[in-house]
Every structure is written in C-alpha cells, then in structure tokens.
C-alpha cells in the first residue's frame, strides 16, 4: 500500500461540465481513483478509475472523461503522471505517425467494394427481375397504358392476325407470365419495344419497312425472347438499384419516388446489352424454326435497314448488331447453294397469309376503334 505522498500527482485542468469555467487543479492518482483539488486544497471531484476513458489530444496532453459525469473532463499533460496513467488505464488509440497507410488501405478497399458491386449488379438485377411478383409488372404495365393508348392503331382483322402470329411464335414458351401482346403504335420511327407486363410495341414505321410478314415475324420472335427472358424488367431493376444507391450516397430521397411513364419508356428505349441481344437472337431463330417460318427474313431485315443511307433507324440503335445475326445470315445464304436439307420441325409456311398481312399493314390507316 503506497503512502499518500508517493501517489503520483501533477497539475491539470478540470472542466466541471456545469459552468464554462476551467479550474486549474492538482490531480492525484490513487490506487483505484482519481482525485483532484482546487488551488485552495478543496476536493473538487473524484472518479473511480474503472469508469475513466482516455483520449489522447496530442502533444502529450491527455483528456480524461468518466461516464460518472459525462459532460466533465480532466486534462493532464505532466509526463510522469501520463506515464502512470498509461499503466493503469486502457490505452487510448495511438495516433499513427503517418495517415497514408490508412488512406491507401481504405481507399483500396473502397475501390474493391465498388468494383465487386459493379460486377454483381447485372446478376443481382436479373435475379430480382425474375422473382418479382406478377402484380408488379402488371401495375407497371397499367401505368404505361395511357401513354400508348392514344396513338395505338387497331383494326379487328389486323389485331387478330398479329395475335395469331404471336401465339405461333410463343408455342415453345413455358413459364412466361401473362400473355404477351403485340400492339402497333402510330409512330414514324422504325422501332420495336418491349415493356413490362409483356407488351410488345411495333411502330407503323417498322411495318412500312417490312417487305414480307416473315420479316415482321423475325422481329416479333426477337422481342418475344426479350419478354421471356425479362430483359426489360432487369433493366428497370438495375436502374432502380442504381438510383437507390445514389440516394443513399447523397441522402436526398426525392429521386426515389419517380416512377412516371416517361422515365420508364425512356429506359425501355435504351440500348440492349450485347448479351441480351445474343439471347434474343437465339430465341428468335429458335421460335421461327419451331413455327416453321423462313428465318431469312429475320436476318435480312436488319441488314437492309443497316444499308439505308439517310438515317439510322431507331431499331438498330436499340438493337446493336450481334454476331449471331451475322452468322444466321451467312449460314442461310451459304445453304442456298447446297442442298436445302434443314432441320425444320414443321414444314415451312409464310408467317401470315397475304390477306392477314394486308390487314396488319393497313392497321394504322383507319381511326382507332374504341
């Protein structure tokens, strides 16, 4: 047991947490406690050592606080006393000599996490899109309806023919939710869009560019595959995830509530990724074969559009060229020379009868029937 005189003590300053005054005090470090007294010798306070925490203020100054008195603090800078405290109290976090190792370490870690997130994003988007309940897609589809309904072309014969062609191309589909429907919209631009809920939009401009129903079938088969694979929902989910991440980063939630039709159409009109296009092309070829429709139309349509001198049709900018498409063209033209033995599952038949084709082509020339 140490005698009182041998207990380490030194001058310090005390903030009592009640007034703003700073009292110069004499601090005594006892076995289990800290005591300090003012200039007149009056005891001003004491803390049990086990409740004390230390913060290193730098330049040899230690600030001591205790949860017995959260607003108060004691500062000591005497080297000997600090040494004694160092032995009795849990060490304060030592300030590293240079901040650079920490910066480099955490900087590299942040980059690694961001890179991993970027790589995982397509996969996660797809997984979520495939598991979204049908209700969500239906609701989105309902939101979009007014947007297209205004300019929709319809005629009973035209729509029937279109619907029949679509079900022919869907024959092999399993597990595709709902009933994908093709609609024609009275727009000049040459494009085909897939929307959530399985709607396929074909523009009048595209119909006018098609030479034969086989070409239209090719485009429809391609789009049906986009629907079956949920490419558009994946894109929407990806956009939502990115917006969500940005919101968290910035702290401003207002962007999250934007689910208006215009934004969705914009996302729907975006360029598909190479992988998505490849999948859609594979699907198109497969569907055409299964339905017994001549596959040449599919490849040559895109080709012919690409040859145009004036402007690049929207269809091409949203559906970038894929190797498979080029392959199909090459294959088909190569086969024209050799014997025409092909593995078709059904005997070839045109996509639409001439009458049906005419009905589809003229769908937009009549006022939309309501």
């Amino acid at each position: 047991m140490r005698r009182h005189q041998e207990m380490p003590q030194a001058a310090g300053t005390y903030r009592d947490g009640w007034t703003a005054a700073i009292h110069p005090v004499q601090v005594v470090l006892e076995t289990n406690a800290l005591r300090w007294a003012g200039a007149d010798g009056n005891l001003l306070g004491a803390w049990t050592l086990s409740t004390v925490t230390v913060a290193d203020e730098g330049a040899g100054r230690w600030r001591l606080t205790s949860h017995e008195a959260p607003e108060a603090s004691l500062s000591v800078s005497d080297a000997l006393l600090v040494d004694e405290l160092r032995q009795r109290l849990p060490q304060p976090k030592a300030k590293p000599r240079s901040p650079w190792p920490r910066v480099l370490l955490f900087g590299a870690a942040v980059l690694a996490v961001l890179a991993a997130a970027a790589m995982a994003l397509p996969w996660v988007s797809r997984a979520i899109a495939h598991r979204l309940p049908a209700r969500v897609e239906t609701q989105l589809a309902l939101n979009l309806d007014p947007f297209f309904a205004k300019r929709q072309c319809s005629s009973p014969q035209g729509q029937d023919a279109l619907d029949e062609l679509v079900s022919r191309l869907r024959a092999g589909d399993s597990g595709v939710r709902g009933r994908p429907r093709a609609r024609v919209v009275d727009w000049d631009l040459v494009n085909a869009l897939t929307l959530p809920g399985g709607s396929i939009i074909v523009t009048r401009g595209l119909l006018e560019q098609a030479d034969s129903p086989d070409e239209l079938a090719g485009v429809l088969g391609h789009e049906l595959e986009h629907v079956a694979r949920r490419h558009i929902m994946t894109q929407l989910v990806r956009a939502a995830l990115l917006t969500g991440a940005w919101t968290l980063a910035v702290g401003d939630i207002s962007g999250l509530l934007v689910v208006d039709p215009a934004t969705m159409v914009q996302i729907a009109s975006r360029k598909y990724s190479r992988d998505d296009e490849r999948e859609a092309d594979e699907g198109a070829v497969r569907r055409l074969r299964a339905a017994g429709i001549d596959g040449r139309g599919f490849a040559t349509f895109f080709d012919r559009l690409a040859q145009r001198q004036d402007d690049t049709p929207e269809l091409l900018s949203t559906h970038p060229p894929s190797e498979l498409r080029a392959q199909v063209v090459a294959q088909l033209f190569a086969q024209r020379r050799g014997p025409s033995a092909r593995d078709v599952e059904t005997p070839p038949a045109p996509a639409l009868t001439p009458a049906a084709w005419q009905a589809v082509r003229t769908m937009c020339y009549r006022p939309a029937a309501r």
Binding site: R15, G17, P99
Partner: protein, 328 residues
C-alpha cells in the same frame, strides 16, 4: 489582390474597446490526409452495410472536425450518437413512405388526380425546408460543446420560416435588391436565439448597413466579371463576425479577399482528383478561416452554466433529405 478595405467610421465606434483583455482565437488543427482516411473508412463501412452505417459515419466525421477545431485553445466536442441519427433517418424514411402510400391511394381512388399527387413530395418538401434548417441547426448546436458546456438554439422555427417566405417573395419582387435584408433578418433571428450555455449571443447588425456593403459589392463584382467577389465576401464576413457578441466579447474577422481567392483556387483541384482532394481543401479552408476569426473581450466563464436544449435528431436526416443540410 484588393487589400482589406477600411471600415466605415460607424463600425469603429461600435467595436468594444480591446484593452489588455482576452482574445479567444479560433484554430483548426486537423490534417487533410488524416481526414481523408476518416472519410474513406466511413465510406467503406457505409458501402458494406448498404447505407446503415451512414448515421455513425456522420458522427465520426463531425467528431473529427469538432475535436480539431478550437477556440482559445480549448477544443470543441461533438456529442451526437450514431444511434439517434439512425433512428432519425428511419423516421424521415417513414414519413416519405407514408407520403408515397398517400400518393398511391390517391392514384387508385381518383386516377385523374394522380398526376397532381406526384407533386405532394415537392410541396411538402418546400414547405418543410426552412423548418428543417432551423431544427437541424438546433440539433447540431445542442450536441456541440466548448469547455464542457453545450450550445443551444431557442425559439420556434415558425418565425424563421415565415421570414424566409416573406423575404423570398420580396427578393423576387425587388429583383434581388431585398436579398441583404433577407440575409440580415434570418441571421438576426437565429443568432439572437443562439446560446452558449446560459449566455445568449447578440447580433447587432442592421439590414441597412448590410445593404450598404452589399450593393457596391455586387456592382463591383459584376463590373470586374467576378474578380471582386472574393473581396466582397471578405467584407460581408467581416461585417457578420464583427457584429456578433458573446457576453463581453465581440467577434472580429481578418480573413481577406486574397485568402478566399486562394481557397476557391484550391477547390478546383477537387474535381480534378475525382473528389480525393476534398478533405485537404476543406482542411485548408477551415484552417485559414479559423485563423482569421476571433472573439475579443472578456467572457465570464464561471457565470455561464449548462442549459439542456431539447432537439430532435431526426432534423438532421430531414435536412439531408430535403437538400438543405448544413453540409457536415
């Protein structure tokens, strides 16, 4: 660069005689690279927790800055906790979610009103913004201490919001000329209700004096295609700080246009380094400004005592969500 301008005579008569009295000098001792380390660590933890850590990250940032900022050689302290800020975030998210439900319900019941329903968040946001600013300031002050005693902000946000609304309209109607009066009004409201412990601050500037500095400043800035703006801002800061009083001490700013120009110049490095230079620039700016600000005169510290201020931590998250946060 323009040297510091001479203070108008009225100004000098107002300044409390600085006898051999106390000078309470501000100083910032943080290090830019060290602060970058803090930011990177908090960003990493925020990322891997999908944003949950953001509340604690705020506390870490604030603790670093507050504890390296000192006045009269005594460091400030930040006493907020991640937990209270996080719960605040949840409350704000809850309000947004509630609004979303209302919008959805309206959309279902009256489809024709749906397009107006989407305006709801914007309207609510704009109305709440000045309140959020006042409440957020109160929260921050109530969690800030100096020499063991906490700051505070009294009064209702209502008058602040009303002043902002009236002032905003007047500023638009007067094509901007009312702006300094608006600034003055808001400053007057907040500072005269700001407290250090039991001691209130006093802001004794006037709108007219501010206008007299503002108008020539704006004109000169326009005529010099912006170059004068730094000197102008320095003058405004000098007026601002010079009219703040705490007990027997009055503020004084010696920050000049040249210093502000250097700060602006250094901030150009931030986009160039994809944001990495931000902590260093921030540190530099804070160090320069702190060096130039002090309070001169005596403050009776032993008569200033602790007063608890009730403040809502949710205000912090709300001001962030509305885009009117205090920036730290």
């Amino acid at each position: 660069m323009e040297p510091t301008s001479v203070m108008p005579p009225a100004e000098e008569n107002r300044v409390a005689p600085a006898s051999a009295t106390e000078v309470h000098q501000f100083a910032y001792r943080g290090d830019g690279v060290e602060y970058l380390g803090v930011l990177l660590k908090t960003i990493l933890l925020t990322l891997v927790t999908f944003g949950v850590y953001a509340a604690w990250a705020k506390v870490q940032r604030r603790k670093y800055v507050w504890e390296h900022l000192s006045c009269g050689d005594e460091a400030f302290g930040f006493h907020g906790t991640g937990r209270e800020i996080f719960i605040g975030y949840l409350k704000v998210a809850g309000v947004y979610f509630g609004m979303f439900l209302v919008m959805f319900a309206v959309g279902q019941i009256w489809p024709s009103a749906a397009q107006f329903a989407v305006l709801l968040p914007a309207i609510v946001g704009a109305t709440l913004a000045p309140f959020a600013m006042y409440w957020a300031r109160r929260y921050l002050l109530s969690r800030t201490s100096w020499r063991g005693v906490r700051f505070g902000l009294d009064g209702q946000a209502r008058s602040y919001a009303w002043a902002m609304l009236k002032g905003g309209l007047l500023t638009i109607l007067t094509l901007g000329f009312y702006a300094p009066y608006l600034t003055h009004n808001l400053r007057h409201i907040t500072w005269n209700r700001t407290r250090y412990g039991s001691q209130s601050f006093v802001y004794d500037g006037t709108g007219r004096e501010l206008f007299r500095i503002w108008l020539p400043g704006v004109l000169k800035t326009v005529c010099t295609l912006g170059l004068y703006s730094f000197s102008f801002q320095a003058q405004m800061l000098r007026y601002y700080v010079g009219h703040l009083q705490l007990d027997g001490a009055r503020g004084r700013s010696t920050v000049d246009g040249w210093a502000l120009f250097k700060i602006a110049l250094s901030s150009l490095t931030v986009p160039l380094t994809l944001g990495l230079a931000f902590p260093s620039v921030f540190t530099y700016a804070l160090r320069v400004v702190a060096q130039g600000v002090r309070f001169e005169g005596s403050i009776a510290f032993d008569r200033i005592y602790q007063v608890t201020t009730r403040a809502n931590p949710a205000a912090d998250g709300l001001s962030d969500a509305l885009g009117v946060s205090l920036g730290i």
